[in-house]
Each structure stands twice: as structure tokens, then as C-alpha cells.
Symmetry: C2
Subunit: 334 residues, 2 copies
DNA sequence: TTGAAAGCGCTAACAC
DNA sequence: GTGTTAGCGCTTTCAA
């Protein structure tokens, strides 16, 4: 067994409570004693057992971060940003992946509940009711989803969707397809709504296709349907879908952006690398990671303060996957 | 405070130990009592506190997974595979990222030490000595690095490097540059050694360039040096470096594979998507995640059995970033 | 400023 | 088959 507070106390010739105080309330202990205790602790390689500490204090110094899919390049920057920011505040963050499965998500929340002080839920697939129910056990901050009564960090996807649609409109597209994400995704609904109203305002049609799995494969499988829809411009729920679509289109010999313009969401790395480079709505993932940790720590450290809501701006990055609509549409009488 | 074993005991009219047994040794309790206890537990929403349990049993049911960089697409598949496999064995896995910083790595190991039963160290940047020292506190399985005395899971990068070099040799390349990874990377040394001997055997020169950060930027920054080296073929430590290099080369107007052939390592998603599609050595990350969990659980559950070593095969995936060396080299007298 | 002692939620002998 | 009890490593009153 590792070295405990008892070992330190014994060899330093003090009581355990003194050792404890040396670490958790140094100002309450005589400087000389403190120095001696610290020296012994150092020598023995003593490290306070956070789990045991948590048992009495109810505080672990850990945060949990649950994401839908760690393999989606959208998440890692957010995770890293959260970890770095938490570390500055002397917290550690443990990450887990739900595989887009609400049941796994619930189980993870329960497992984390006793081992961390608070939880960051990124793109949760759980129902609002389930979230509320679980929230009594542990503080949450929800990212990428609006849940009333909870602290949330949102990225303004509605604004992003509007910009994307307007961009397509400006290029002369009059029939636009939206490749929706999972039906449990709050962002997907927000995108759909905003895209629909922007299309309407611009006198264009919006065909909503989906739900689609938020993966490359989701995009590949949707290619045929996109073609069938007669759209000249496509807005995809995320870059993974957009990339899968572009690859499938390439197989089918459909030129992007010549015959079909494609816009994604997220601005993940492969989006910059694919050919044609993807026009996409960049998400402020790094800022979101920071904001989420801030909000959570506020909740954890001063529960009295209420919940917070943060909405971060998104911005359209125009690259090479969008171009003027093919002539028939452009030439259409006004 | 959440519901504890005491609450369940009280409302079920039994002693806490009976409740405890209901969960940890059900066969020792009268079926009727068990049913009643379970019912009450369910109703009250009781969940055993794993941290408290760990205090007495020394077992948490959690595993830790530490990676150098969660944002490197190489890791997520390994992480997912480990999580899924651990879940089958009724363990949870918590992930943390070291940002390639050995100090952070050490701190994370210490933090994890008391909260998990064992640790998966993926591509650790710590010295072998430090790893040994920390290992007394908690069982390790090391992935992507050979550490004697410890259980390891290796991917056969030497074989991969050999295949890659031979592939370039067959295409007529006689001057090959190797973009090395971080000097603390065990794999990088292994690749270098294997590539050197394969090049030698094939009568080609190998110029080792680096160390380079294992990132896109690392590749971008190395482009000038690659050009200066006069190499016609490049083997990069990983796909990120290869991709960064290709992008920089594109900026500089150097044709890939026309003027320069590029091979990467890992086979991450963007490698399939970049143009030209990247020739690369595929790493068995999914198998590695499984194997690592198996090895760790063996260590955790029956410490008596010794350590294990697993080496998994890699395979060269030939795509479009490699082609015959430009004519001067090809035409060179034999 | 320090020691003594109770207790956090749970398990594991040991009795009954 | 179930209750009793003594901790696991630590913090936190309360006294001294």
C-alpha cells in the first residue's frame, strides 16, 4: 500500500490531524512543524488520497467531461481547452465517450457522479427529463444544447446556418438540401430552423434530409438522396457528413462545387485538407471549453450563484466547395 | 447528499452489511431479502459509491488512459476501442491528455493512481526511470513503447518502416528523408533504425531530419529542409507531419508525388481525404486498445501472472502520394 | 498550535 | 442468513 497520512505523522512525530492541516490549512500550523511535516512528506513521497479526502469533504478536485464521440475531430480541441483551463484552476478532468448511446451516457454520468465535483455534458443525447433527473446528484454544464434551468454553453449555430444559407443564396442557389444530424441533437434542430427561415426569406426551397448519423458514413449514404432532391447546394449538419458526401459524390462523378456546392459545420482539420477545401461554419470550440469549465467551477465552488448561459459566435469560412449554382438555376427568370 | 447504503438498510429493515452483500456477494443473501433490498435500492435510486468502496477493497472498477495528445486523430480509435472493451468487462475508463508534456504526464499518473485500478500509458514521454518509479503505485500497461519489466503493447513500426522504405526503393528512390518524431518517442527511434537498415540494404541513402513535433505544423516547418536534403522520397513519423508537409509543398509549388513521394504513419482519417491521398503505414489501433485493456486487466485481477508483451502487425497502404522517382534518379546507372 | 475522536460510505471478518 | 464491529485515508470539530 502507498504511504498514508499516518506514516507521515508517525515519522514526523506529530498527529495525523497536524499533517492534514499542513496540506489543507497550512496557516493553522506552526511554521517549523509545517516545514518538518512537508520535508517528511516529500521524503516519503506522500500524496494525499483525493478519493479519501472526497469522502469527508465531498470534493474531489476532479471534473468529468462526457462527449458523444471522441473520434469526431470536433471534440478534441474542446477537450484540450477544458483540460488546460481546469488545470490552471487546479482541477483535473477525466473524459469519457458515450458512443452516441444515451444509455451509456446515463451510466457514465452515474459512475462519474461520485468521483468528480461536476460534469461537462457535451452534445448530450439524453432526454431533457433524464438530464434533470440526474442533475440532482451532481452539477452539470451542458454544451451544445439548451436545457432550461441548467448552465449552458451554446455555439450560435443558428447564426452559422443563416450565414451559410445566405452565402448559397448569393451564389444563386435556389434549391438547398439540409443534411440533418441525429434527431436527438439539439444543434441539428436549431440549424434546421434557422436554415429554413433563411431560405424562406431568400425565396429558396429547403429540403430537409435525414436524420443522418453524424459521421463520414452518414454523408456517404446520403449522397443518392441529395442527388435525387435536385438541390444545387447542400448544408450538412457537420463536416464529417459533408466530407463523406463529397467523397461519395466524387465516386459518382459529380463535380463539387461545379454541379453541387457543399457547406459543413465545425471546421475540423480534414475540412481544410480535403479537395475541394470545405466551406464550413467554424465553431468556437476552444472558447467553449474554457467557458464550460468556468461555468462549472462557478457552480461547484459557489452553488449559491445561479446558472449561466453563454452563447458563442460562429463564423462562416468560405473555401472551395461552394461556387455559383449551375447555369439553369442562375439563368432562371427573376 | 445522495442516498447511501444506510438509507437503503433503514428503509429495507436490514443491516447495512446485508445491503452491502446484496451488491457484492448476492449469493450470500436470502433471495427474499435480496429482492426486497434491490427493490428499495431501485426505488431510492441508490448507487454504490465506488470511491468509498475503493477505500476498503482497494478496487475502483476504473481504468485510466493517458495519451500524449487527444487531438491527434491517431488516438481516438484506440481510446474508443479500449473503452468499449473495458465496458464489456465492467470497467470504466477515464481519459486524460498530457499535451506531450512529461511533467503533466507525471502529475496525471499520480492523480489517477488512487482513483483507478490500473493505467494505460499511450506513447508516454516520461523517461523509463520515471515510469519505473511511478509503477510501484499502480499497475501500468505501456502502449507504443518498450519498457523492460512492464507489460507492453507495441505496433510493429519497424516492419512498417521497412515496408515503406522498400516501397520507395521499388519506385526508384535512392535518396530518402526521414522526418523523425519527438526525441522522447520510442516509436520514432524504432522507425529510424528500421528505415536506416532497409535503406542501406537497398543501396539508398537515408537522411534523418528532426526531431519534429508530431503535428501538422511540424510537417510544414520541415518542408524547406526536406527540399534542401535533395530527397525524392520522404517517410514521416506520422500522418500529421506528412499532411503538413504536403500542404507546405503545395504552397511551394512542389508536386506530390511528381517531384516528391511522401509516406506517413498511422492512417488517420484525413490521410484518406487529402489530395493526393496519402500512402501510409496503417496502425492496428483498435486491436491495440483491446490488447492493452486485456493486459491491464490481467495485471489488475491476477497480479501473480507476470507481464505480457504484445506486438501487433502494421501494414503499408499504398495510395496516391507515392510514385516513381523523378527521372534523373531513375535513369541513374546501376 | 496541537491532539483526540468522530465520522464520510463502504466492506470484511467474525459472531450469532 | 444476518447483525456487529472495526477499519480504509482523510478532514474537522472540540478540547487542551
Amino acid at each position: 500500500m502507498a504511504v498514508t497520512i499516518r506514516d507521515v505523522a508517525r515519522t514526523a512525530g506529530v498527529h495525523v490531524s497536524t499533517v492534514s492541516r499542513t496540506f489543507s490549512a497550512p496557516h493553522l500550523v506552526n511554521p517549523e512543524t509545517r516545514v518538518r511535516v512537508l520535508a517528511v512528506a516529500e521524503e516519503l513521497g506522500y500524496r494525499p488520497n483525493r478519493a479519501a479526502r472526497a469522502l469527508t469533504t465531498g470534493r474531489t478536485g476532479n471534473l468529468g467531461l462526457i462527449v458523444a464521440d471522441i473520434a469526431n475531430p470536433f471534440f478534441p480541441p474542446l477537450i484540450k481547452s477544458a483540460q488546460a483551463h481546469a488545470r490552471e484552476r487546479d482541477y483535473h478532468v477525466f473524459v469519457a465517450d458515450t458512443d452516441e448511446d444515451p444509455r451509456v451516457e446515463e451510466e457514465l454520468i452515474r459512475t462519474f457522479a461520485k468521483q468528480v465535483d461536476g460534469l461537462l455534458l457535451c452534445s448530450p443525447r439524453l432526454s431533457g427529463r433524464a438530464i434533470d433527473r440526474l442533475n440532482v446528484e451532481i452539477p452539470f454544464v451542458v454544451v451544445n444544447r439548451q436545457v432550461k434551468g441548467l448552465s449552458t454553453v451554446l455555439m450560435d449555430v443558428a447564426q452559422g446556418a443563416r450565414s451559410a444559407v445566405e452565402h448559397l443564396l448569393r451564389l444563386g442557389h435556389r434549391r438547398i438540401a439540409l443534411l440533418a444530424g441525429p434527431s436527438s441533437s439539439w444543434n441539428s434542430s436549431a440549424i434546421e430552423e434557422a436554415a429554413a427561415s433563411a431560405a424562406l426569406a431568400g425565396g429558396a426551397e429547403l429540403a430537409v434530409l435525414g436524420p443522418n448519423p453524424p459521421t463520414e458514413q452518414g454523408g456517404e449514404l446520403a449522397a443518392a438522396e441529395v442527388l435525387r432532391s435536385g438541390a444545387t447546394g447542400v448544408l450538412a449538419y457537420n463536416d464529417l457528413i459533408a466530407i463523406g458526401l463529397i467523397e461519395a459524390l466524387d465516386e459518382l462523378g459529380v463535380a463539387v462545387p461545379g454541379q453541387l456546392s457543399v457547406v459543413g459545420f465545425d471546421d475540423i482539420m480534414p475540412a481544410r485538407v480535403i479537395s475541394p477545401k470545405l466551406t464550413t461554419v467554424a465553431m468556437p470550440t476552444v472558447a467553449a471549453g474554457r467557458a464550460a469549465v468556468d461555468a462549472l467551477l462557478r457552480l461547484v465552488e459557489s452553488p449559491a450563484t445561479g446558472t449561466t448561459r453563454t452563447t458563442l459566435d460562429t463564423s462562416l469560412v468560405v473555401r472551395a466547395s461552394t461556387a455559383a449554382a449551375p447555369s439553369p438555376a442562375v439563368a432562371r427568370p427573376r
